[in-house]
């Protein structure tokens, strides 16, 4: 092997330097498949989108011309953009918060020492169910459930909780809550499964020691479980923030961004620009704005990771 070619006369310092250089290449060797794939299939299209965002109108025009930042000015200045940012912020933070809480609660319950294996196995299967379906079917299913004549209204009225059924998805006052709820339902198992796996990695003796010190369940949870799970929680929360903020299909197929613009998100707004208005440059500018916002988030995340190391 080339790397082992003996050079017996090397000064020790030179050997150390070369060893360091070799070491420097090792991580890149490990990263190379990832880098090749992401550069070809992700960075190139993104660069193209950035290019689009600076033209007057691509795809629909044969000879688009350079337009500078006009598209950005137009997107940022529009009223609907502000509405979309507000709705997206609400939808995303509430969804991620609820995913996290439900994920933690369910995974802790499912990991309880108090239950036997079969019971836990059964519940583990039930709890993961929402995760197994494609968005299209989740949207259809919830449209059925939340239909004014649907089963949820029927149950609520029968139990006397409400007097008449509500138009959950089609009244401007409740639509945003309804789609957020659906998204919470559809997304928590992802947190739960990851946390469940994370819980297995926490050494048992930490709890034993805490019990000896007289800590109760809650104290053990706050002082041991949470800190131990923290790296996983932070990673997942960041990823979920990014994913949820661009959730499109679920919203599109349940409310289409309506009623009026009660559930208009950055993603639905961008879609309409591209495929309803055929303003691909505007849509690209909007996509780049979303990208920049996420990069800020990613930057803080990576810095947080580094600080922790």
């Amino acid at each position: 092997m080339v790397l082992l070619t003996p050079k017996t006369l090397d000064a020790p310092a030179e050997v150390a330097a070369r060893a360091k250089k070799k070491r420097n290449l090792v991580p890149f060797a490990f990263l190379s498949p990832t880098i090749i794939l992401l550069v070809i299939l992700m960075l190139i299209p993104i660069v193209m989108v950035i290019g689009y965002s600076l033209m007057d109108n691509v795809i629909m025009k044969t000879n688009p011309v350079f337009a500078g930042f006009n598209n950005y000015v137009e997107v940022l200045g529009s009223e609907i953009f502000r509405t979309a940012v507000l709705n997206t912020t609400f939808f995303t933070t509430v969804s991620v918060g609820a995913h996290l809480v439900l994920g933690l609660v369910f995974s802790t319950l499912l990991n309880s020492r108090l239950l036997n294996g079969a019971t836990k196995a059964l519940f583990r299967v039930i709890y993961v169910l929402p995760w197994l379906f494609t968005v299209a079917i989740i949207a259809i299913l919830w449209r059925l459930l939340l239909n004014p004549n649907g089963v949820i209204n029927y149950v609520l009225v029968t139990l006397g909780i409400t007097e008449t059924g509500a138009e959950w998805l089609s009244s401007p006052g409740t639509a945003l809550f309804a789609v957020t709820f659906i998204n919470i339902w559809a997304g928590y198992p992802f947190f739960m499964v990851s946390l469940l796996a994370g819980l297995q990695g926490i050494p048992r003796d930490l709890y034993e020691a805490a019990r000896v010190d007289g800590a109760n369940g809650l104290q053990q949870f706050v002082n041991i479980t949470l800190p131990q799970l923290r790296p996983i929680i932070v990673s997942m929360a960041v990823l979920d923030l990014i994913w949820t903020s661009q959730q499109f299909a679920l919203i599109w197929m349940t409310t289409g961004g309506g009623p009026i613009n009660a559930t208009e998100m950055l993603s639905t707004m961008t879609y309409k620009m591209a495929f309803s208005n055929y303003q691909f440059s505007l849509a690209s500018a909007s996509a780049v704005i979303i990208l920049v916002m996420s990069m800020v988030l990613a930057y803080f995340y990576v810095r947080h990771q580094k600080a922790r190391d």
């Binding site: 090792v26 990263l31 498949p33 992700m42 169910l129 339902w185 960041v238 950055l266 996509a287």
Partner: protein, 280 residues
């Protein structure tokens, strides 16, 4: 008055069980309703007041899917793609996660930021340039095109999560191997991978789900029925004028059963105590 330990434990157990049952209603009821609907006729699905089981109870929707070779082909395609994506993603991501977790190198932070944030571009705006790229690479309407596309979606998550798991493992573990003369490959495959199985399984399940359920790119990057996947099959049942409600529900139920079996099979890796000892 102090309760005995046994009494308190029984009380706690009841509490946990009640909480779990409450959560199960939230999680399971919609799916149960889907299952019930798949046995109904299309009219009964919209009946008011709604009922779980109706006179029209039948397996007709299932029969019509299982007897249609085109739809069965959708299932095969979905398996091929999802399994390949899962396998390849895990291998590639394990390499990358190892690099991130155990090495310091120039541009580490930049690469990390890029990996996290590339997923932030709304896929719908990438559709047109991405499609052009796939055609240019001659991967249009092939398994490779779908597999590599989904890897782009799944890799960032897989890398981040696996890096996280590796970070929770003490460095001494693999450094001991290095001291013994083992290389980074040995450290990764012999030491880190075996103790990270729960993490790898959960990442694997996630990867599989993404590849199984993706719709937009599956539709755009394929054109013939013999390359299409289950989500497109579901969408094909949503006609211009009316939906085949019961068949949509049935095909979703059929689609989730194999994943459920996979999950149950791998569940033992989540069971308490399996790996906790190994880490120490």
């Amino acid at each position: 008055m102090s309760k005995t330990k046994k009494q308190r434990e029984a009380l706690e157990r009841t509490g946990v069980l009640l909480a779990l049952i409450g959560g199960a209603v939230f999680a399971g009821f919609p799916v149960l309703w889907m299952l019930a609907s798949s046995f109904k006729s299309n009219t009964e699905i919209f009946e008011a007041p709604p009922r779980f089981i109706t006179e029209g109870f039948s397996f007709a929707a299932y029969a019509s899917i299982l007897s249609d070779p085109t739809k069965m082909r959708f299932f095969i395609n979905s398996y091929v793609v999802a399994l390949a994506v899962t396998g390849l993603t895990l291998v590639v991501a394990l390499f990358a996660a190892y690099a991130f977790s155990r090495f310091d190198f120039p541009f580490k932070r930049t690469i990390n930021i890029v990996i996290v944030s590339v997923q932030a571009v709304p896929p719908i705006t990438l559709l047109v340039p991405y499609f052009g790229l796939v055609v240019f690479l001659r991967m249009f309407n092939t398994y490779q095109g779908l597999i590599l596309t989904y890897m782009v979606f799944t890799l960032p998550y897989a890398i981040i999560m696996l890096t996280g798991y590796f970070n929770t493992l003490p460095r001494e573990l693999d450094e001991a191997v290095r001291v013994d003369g083992g290389g980074p490959m040995t450290a990764l495959w012999r030491i880190l991978v075996p103790v990270s199985v729960p993490g790898i399984v959960s990442v694997g399940i996630y990867t599989f789900m993404i590849a199984w359920n993706e719709y937009l790119f599956a539709l755009t990057l394929t054109k013939t029925q013999d390359m299409r996947t289950v989500p497109i099959g579901i969408q094909l049942l949503m006609g211009q004028h009316s939906y085949q409600w019961n068949e949509m529900m049935a095909i979703s139920i059929l689609g989730c059963i194999p994943i459920l079996i996979l999950y149950i099979f791998f569940q033992r890796y989540f069971m308490s105590g399996m790996t906790a000892g190994a880490v120490k």
